[in-house]
């Protein structure tokens, strides 16, 4: 096991697009174990993408079971060759990144996504994510396309942050047919 060095912006390699994983072998499994150890070594990190440690393949790990305040989550996930199938809703939220130390900013993300990916053996997976976990997944997937949250910043001022949790919409009575 090893902890990788994290590439930090302005390292140009973070802007690079990552390639599909084709070999699901022991070497990949070893890399994933080290990638996870690297993620857990960072304070408060709920996700990591392979290009953040200089491996330009479409591999991300997300674990939203470790947040300070609990959020809906699927536990520890290794997502290989992930692809968003559907997006729904949008919300501004605060993000930080191991590759961008000492800066956090507001980013708009979809509140619900469905996603197809492969597991460590190459078997197909499908998930529906919401809220904080959906945000984490979208943030990590961006790394695979050479995007940082800095590319998606919106103003810290004058944003509306109303969330369904605190402003529940009145449930509409079903129309009589």
């Amino acid at each position: 096991m090893a902890i990788f060095e994290i590439l930090t912006y302005p390292d140009e390699r973070l802007k690079q697009e990552s390639a599909l994983v084709e070999q699901f072998d022991a070497e990949l499994h070893g890399f994933i174990a080290d990638l996870e150890e690297t993620m857990r070594a960072g304070p408060g990190g709920v996700g990591i993408a392979a290009p953040q440690v200089g491996r330009f393949q479409r591999i991300v790990i997300v674990d939203c079971s470790v947040t300070r305040k609990p959020v809906p989550n699927h536990g520890r996930l290794v997502l290989i060759n992930p692809e968003v199938l559907t997006w729904d809703g949008m919300e501004v939220g605060r993000e930080g990144c191991m590759s961008v130390p000492d800066y956090t900013g507001n980013v708009i993300r979809a509140t619900q996504i469905t996603l197809a990916a492969q597991d460590e053996q190459g078997q197909p997976l499908e998930f529906a994510f919401e809220g904080f976990e959906a945000r984490a997944v979208q943030h990590e997937l961006d790394h695979l396309d050479g995007l940082l949250f800095l590319d998606r910043l919106v103003s810290r001022r004058n944003d509306l942050f109303r969330r369904k949790v605190y402003q529940p919409k009145p449930t509409k009575a079903k129309k009589a047919e």
Partner: protein, 174 residues
């Protein structure tokens, strides 16, 4: 040696202030740090961390010509400061209502007592001259927890027809 200054500049707003001020600072050998700049009531206000290897008098000499030509009032403080000292907010509070004196004092007083450390506050007055509305947005750290703030906010705004919203900020580190 700590070589940070806080430079504040205030004057009637017009286009080009930031470009001309920062060009003068750059030409004078300054490095810029964190800043907040905005238009308030037709004035442009600048609060700017400036790193400068020299005295406050020397920095004043750098800024004076451009400040005079733009009719900006400068103020320079040597400050005990450093970059990378951010505190992460964990709560956002917005307050709005019909404008009148005392809203800010009442609301922030109650919130301070409930443990709020304000990191960023902006407010504005909108509506019309006859019916102005006050809107305030705060980001801060809830030292005694979100619930304490929520209760304090409810009490402070209940009777006055002021609307308030409190939203936890959970920063996602990926």
């Amino acid at each position: 040696m700590n070589d940070w200054y806080m430079l504040t500049l205030v004057g009637k707003d017009r286009p080009g202030i930031v470009a001309r001020v920062t060009a003068a600072l750059f030409d004078g050998g300054c490095n810029l740090g964190e800043a907040s700049m905005m238009r308030l009531g037709g004035n442009f206000t600048i609060m700017l961390m400036v790193q400068f290897q020299g005295s406050a008098q020397a920095l004043a000499a750098v800024i004076s010509p451009v400040a005079e030509s733009l009719a900006l009032h400068p103020h320079i403080d040597h400050i005990d400061a450093a970059l990378h000292q951010h505190l992460e907010p964990d709560v956002r509070i917005t307050v709005y209502g019909a404008d009148r004196a005392g809203i800010v004092a009442k609301v922030t007083g109650a919130l301070a007592e409930a443990g709020l450390h304000i990191l960023d506050l902006t407010s504005d007055v909108g509506g019309s001259s006859e019916r102005p509305i006050y809107v305030m947005s705060i980001e801060g750290h809830a030292a005694e927890g979100i619930e304490a703030l929520a209760s304090a906010l409810e009490v402070a705004t209940a009777a006055d027809g002021i609307s308030a919203q409190l939203t936890p900020i959970q920063t996602m580190y990926g």
